[in-house]
């Protein structure tokens, strides 16, 4: 046999062996997955029974406790329920030694083990593991720290938040965002530490202050309103914009004066957020500022102002007013918004003052009728009538 022939035979043999190995691996893994699926189905049935009815076959469960499929199924159930059922399942996890085992694995030298343990403990959220989790928030692996914080959030340990925030600046942006997500889950108890963190902003400009402000907005606790209003005057534009956005999520009427002031900010991004936020306030006193926003040089400010005006009492009147104003930008923004609401661009313009009485003209009555129908929630606009419908009232006359 020539050397070329030998090489071909060896190559074919190697390919065949590789194929056999891959095929065997596929078969074995498929069988393993199927077996896991069968086990998971059995565990779901038993743990579901246990959670719903409280029956507790201790002997069988002890045999299953070491199986990671059983553990992950149990974690899934614990994450799903609250109250009595959760306590019952936690008790099972404690009785079977699963929680102690996970706490032990949290000290493992292998990062993967520690991450899995932290994930498991975060899912269980057992108050007895608070100490182990608070140690884990100093772990060198970010995934362990984040999961430990998730667990502490579930347990409700607000005093640790300040400690975490002291080191948050050294995290990557991604991990810091995940940490902030956990603080949102913790809710109002996290607010004092976040406020304290933001209080230190005056000394410099921490990297993640914007995230902290967004977190306060997502939590939506009114105690943070004062700090967010102060944030509207911060030298950093990002912080001013984030504050305006957070105040929007809060939707508080008390923030309206500050947001009106922010509508005059030199940076467009702040005015954009402020215009959006004022729409959430449902406060009539914001109408003038938003009407002014219709004439803003920035398109997004005009768009947000127009949208927000539709949410405020008297806001639609301000859009009508802008339609017959001299400012081209304002006219366009108002026309576009009225069209979105169902009033066509070519519609006759109401000549009634915003807060005045209707003059009885056909055009005025026509647009009043359109707005009346919009106000009452009819999405479908009827055809344009030749004459005004008798008895039509102007919204302002209500």
């Amino acid at each position: 046999m020539t050397s070329t022939g030998l090489i071909v035979v060896i190559a074919v043999g190697a390919c065949a062996c590789t194929l056999v190995v891959l095929f065997s691996y596929k078969i074995v893994m498929g069988a393993k997955r199927r077996f896991e699926g069968v086990r998971r189905a059995a565990y779901i049935a038993v743990i579901g029974e246990l959670a719903a009815r409280g029956s507790y076959p201790t002997g069988i469960l002890s045999d299953w406790a070491a199986d990671r499929v059983f553990r992950s199924t149990l974690q899934g159930f614990v994450a799903l329920v609250e109250g009595v059922e959760r306590s019952r399942l936690l008790q099972v996890a404690q009785d079977l030694g699963i929680i102690d085992d996970e706490v032990g694995r949290l000290r493992s030298r292998r990062t993967k083990q520690r991450v899995r343990a932290a994930q498991a403990l975060a899912a269980f959220g057992d108050p007895l593991t608070a100490r182990a989790l608070s140690t884990a928030i100093n772990d060198r692996a970010a995934a362990v720290r984040v999961n430990a914080l998730a667990g502490l959030s579930r347990i409700g340990e607000p005093e640790l938040v300040a400690k975490i925030l002291r080191t948050v600046d050294s995290e990557t942006e991604w991990d810091a965002a995940r940490i902030m997500d956990q603080l949102v889950a913790l809710g109002a108890p996290a607010v004092p530490a976040l406020l304290s963190y933001l209080g230190d902003l005056r000394a410099g400009a921490p990297r993640y202050a914007t995230m902290a402000i967004q977190t306060l907005g997502a939590i939506g606790d009114l105690s943070s309103q004062r700090v967010l209003l102060d944030g509207l005057h911060h030298p950093e534009v990002e912080l001013r914009a984030a504050s305006a956005g957070a105040l929007q999520r809060m939707g508080s009427v008390g923030a309206v004066p500050g947001l009106i002031e922010a509508m005059r900010d030199r940076e467009a991004v702040v005015r954009i957020r402020a215009a959006k936020s004022l729409g959430e306030s449902f406060d009539e006193s914001a109408v003038d500022a938003l009407a002014h926003g219709l004439r803003d040089p920035e398109w997004w400010v005009r768009k947000n102002s127009a949208e927000s005006l539709t949410r405020l009492p008297g806001g639609v009147g301000a859009l009508q007013e802008a339609l017959r104003g001299s400012d081209e930008f304002a006219r366009d923004a108002a026309r576009e918004q009225l069209m979105i609401m169902g009033v066509p661009a070519g519609a006759p313009v109401d000549t009634t003052p915003i807060n005045g009485q209707t003059d009885g003209s056909a055009d005025g009555d026509w647009i009043a009728e359109q707005l009346d129908q919009l106000d009452t929630g009819f999405a479908q606009r009827p055809g344009v009538p030749d004459t005004p419908t008798p008895g039509t009232r102007h919204p302002s006359s209500r």
């Binding site: 779901i44 899934g76 799903l80 059922e85």
Partner: protein, 148 residues
Amino acid sequence: MTTRRVFIVDDERTVSTLLSRALESIGYEVVQSFDGYEAYNLGVHEPFDLALVDMFLPGLLGIEILSKWQKAGVEYPVIMVSGSNAEEDIIQALEFGAVDYVTKPFRVRELLARVQAHVRTHERFLRAREIGAGPTVRASSGATTPFP
């Protein structure tokens, strides 16, 4: 007394199993579905007293199922069960016809109480309609019409 039937639509076996065990423990008959399209068909053709529907499903989304059921004239109450507690999701689900919205994690006993309350209300509504003295209902076209 006839057994009340509840339809559980959730692709997560843990949720589905837990809910069905809990409902069976208080005497309800349970039908489960794990897929949006199958759920839509079953929901239209089978008689139920209430449905528990997950927001995110393979095939059709929970609110799509709700919307299609509404158009098909399904009358029994629907409770949305979802992991999302976002205001927009809750409002959207209620606007699409859900009578209630429950977020995960939930308290099983509280959820059972909600199910029983909505089933009771629906039964009262059906009885009132039978005797012709019921309240008005909003038809699918959006117009408010009285019962005949």
